[in-house]
């Protein structure tokens, strides 16, 4: 074994900021996830809808010019509704193993002996899911907004595009936070990733099915899937800000609940 001091003298002496820790945890998890083939495929798959909708937009423009009729169909809402599916799958794939794996491998103590609090840990794992989900919802959406602006300069003003991007960013924030909470929370609740996946799938399906069973088809959304669908409708179709705010609150609750479950779980296990 070689000499130690060379190149290793003078490390950190003050506790790092919470953001530094949270970012380090998220960055590592995203890096590891991107090495898995199915995650890469999902990532690439999620880039397909914006390309398809971009082509649709061009075809629509050409058709309108050819027949001289305004078809009056805006692909943005449909795009976001389609885009939600790969983002949801990616969130489940990324989020459900995160805490379960650390618990199964008994490494939570490794975080405890470093300047990492349970909140840093939980928010780092959340960011590892919410960050890519947010990017996959917003960046292709931005592409569509740019295409609209470029292809339909007479119909779409810059202010329209800016408002559209703002709405998409708002939707992306709430959807990505909810998906992170609903996939990382189950991961903290059980010790095996496959059980976490089942639990997360149940969260996305059971609450809305139950309330529909009780209150009928127009029941208020209480699950993350229906709430995200309703939020998108409220933002891009009905322009119902009140309904949208309530859906955003439901989505935010999933994030808060997922974070709390993770914090409570790791607080009891981050010890010798």
């Amino acid at each position: 074994m070689g000499a130690w001091s060379e190149g290793l003298v003078g490390g950190s002496r003050r506790a790092p900021s919470g953001w530094h820790i949270i970012r380090a945890i998220a960055r590592r998890e995203i890096g590891i996830a991107l090495r898995r083939r199915h995650v890469r495929l999902l990532f690439l798959g999620s880039l397909v809808p914006p390309v398809v909708f971009g082509i649709i937009l061009v075809v629509r423009l050409m058709a309108e010019k050819a027949v001289g009729v305004d078809l009056g169909w805006d692909p943005v809402l449909r795009f976001l509704q389609v885009q939600v599916a790969p983002v949801l799958l990616l969130s489940l794939g990324l989020g459900t193993p995160l805490v379960a794996r650390d618990r199964a491998e008994d490494v939570l103590y490794l975080y405890a002996v470093r300047p990492v609090s349970p909140w840093h840990y939980a928010l780092g794992k959340m960011l590892a899911v919410a960050g890519p989900a947010f990017a996959l919802l917003l960046l292709p959406g931005l592409l569509i907004a740019v295409l609209r602006q470029g292809l339909l300069p007479d119909e779409v003003s810059f202010a329209d595009s800016a408002i559209l991007v703002g709405r998409m960013a708002l939707a992306a924030v709430f959807l990505s936070l909810a998906y992170a909470g609903a996939s990382v929370g189950p991961s903290a609740a059980v010790k095996r990733a496959r059980w976490a996946l089942l639990l997360a799938l149940a969260l996305f399906t059971v609450p809305d099915s139950l309330i529909e069973l009780v209150l009928g088809e127009h029941a208020f959304p209480i699950g993350p899937a229906k709430a995200s669908e309703s939020l998108l409708s409220a933002l891009f179709e009905h322009r119902d800000l009140g309904g949208g705010a309530v859906c955003a609150l439901v989505l935010l609750l999933y994030f808060v609940a997922g974070s709390l479950v993770t914090v409570m779980r790791v607080r009891t296990e981050m010890r010798p």
Binding site: W4, G11, A24, E105, D106, R114, P272
Partner: protein, 317 residues
């Protein structure tokens, strides 16, 4: 005498309603301190309390210039911990785990990567560092864990059973490295069951038994606690000779074949022994001190502690 770098006063800590540390007091000044005790004695709990991971019921802890738990986050930045029960951050290679450990201790990614390679180079982790850590041998895991604890150049190194599972060569290399780290000026707390490791590395011992400090002080002091035995070898050193020695004030004399073991008199005078040998016509070919090992000394202290507790328990009943 130098300032203590760990100071614990009347520390009480319960886990699951059971008292684990019961009034621990210690002021550790040694550069390398061996934390020794039986399974369940409270060693890991004490380490957890020192790092502020476990909250004490009462008492105070100061490590370096930091009061714990208030300064726990700063302490954890300045300390490197190699935990026995926890492995390596899962899901990546050895170098990934070391880089991540550095980042969690506050290093920027680029700096952490540079240091991770330096640390792994120094630990002779060649190309293996790029392999998934889940497939590592015990030796490689231990080296990676040590690199994880050292990447940020900590002032304190807390090592929990660092040589477990290592082959003799690996163990020797590891201990040499720990000594090197100690000689560079780092404070080391070595929790171990292997007393030989503690003897090789440490200049001070903290012996925990049943949640209380059974011994705290220099290793020399612990060795001195066990009285030296004398061993004589020769003809005529039989049971009658041993009885004669006992009458002359020598303690615990016992004979076996040509070998006689006895404790010296309180005044250390050996002349009565030689006189008796001369009177009885015994032929003493060899007389030497039977120096106790650290293991003997620790076992003696721990047995003394157990006896004391049992006696206290029976008196209580």
């Amino acid at each position: 005498m130098s300032e203590p770098w760990i100071e614990v006063r009347d520390l009480w800590l319960e886990r699951g309603g059971r008292p684990v540390l019961q009034g621990v007091n210690a002021a550790l000044t040694g550069r390398a301190v061996g934390l020794v005790g039986a399974n369940g004695a409270g060693k890991s709990t004490l380490i957890g309390a020192l790092l502020g991971v476990l909250r004490a019921k009462s008492g105070s802890i100061r490590v370096l210039d930091l009061e714990i738990p208030g300064g726990a986050m700063h302490l954890r930045t300045r300390a490197g911990v190699m935990a026995e029960q926890a492995g390596i951050f899962p899901g990546g290679s050895g170098v990934d785990a070391v880089v991540f450990a550095g980042m969690l201790s506050g290093l920027p990614r680029r700096e952490s990567l540079r240091r991770a390679h330096r640390a792994l180079d120094a630990l002779d982790m060649g190309e293996e560092r790029y392999r998934p850590a889940s497939g590592y041998s015990t030796g490689m895991k231990q080296r990676t864990k040590l690199a994880m604890s050292l990447v940020h150049d900590p002032e304190i190194l807390i090592l929990d059973e660092p040589t477990v599972g290592l082959d003799p060569i690996g163990r020797t290399q590891f201990l040499r490295l720990i000594r090197e780290l100690r000689d560079q000026g780092r404070h080391i707390l070595l929790s171990t069951h292997v007393l030989q490791d503690a003897e090789t590395v440490c200049d001070e011992m903290l012996l925990i038994e049943g949640g209380v400090v059974a011994f705290s002080g220099p290793v020399r002091g612990l060795l001195g606690a066990e009285e030296t035995l004398l061993v004589a070898v020769g003809a005529g050193l039989d049971r009658e000779f041993a009885e004669g020695l006992a009458l002359l004030g020598f303690g615990e004399a016992s004979a076996s074949g040509e070998r006689l073991t006895f404790r010296p008199r309180p005044d250390g005078d050996l002349l009565p022994f030689w006189r008796l040998a001369s009177e009885r016509g015994a032929e003493v070919r060899h007389l030497s001190r039977d120096m106790p090992t650290l293991e003997d000394a620790v076992v003696a202290v721990m047995e003394g502690g157990s006896r004391g507790r049992m006696e206290r328990g029976s008196r209580g009943r």
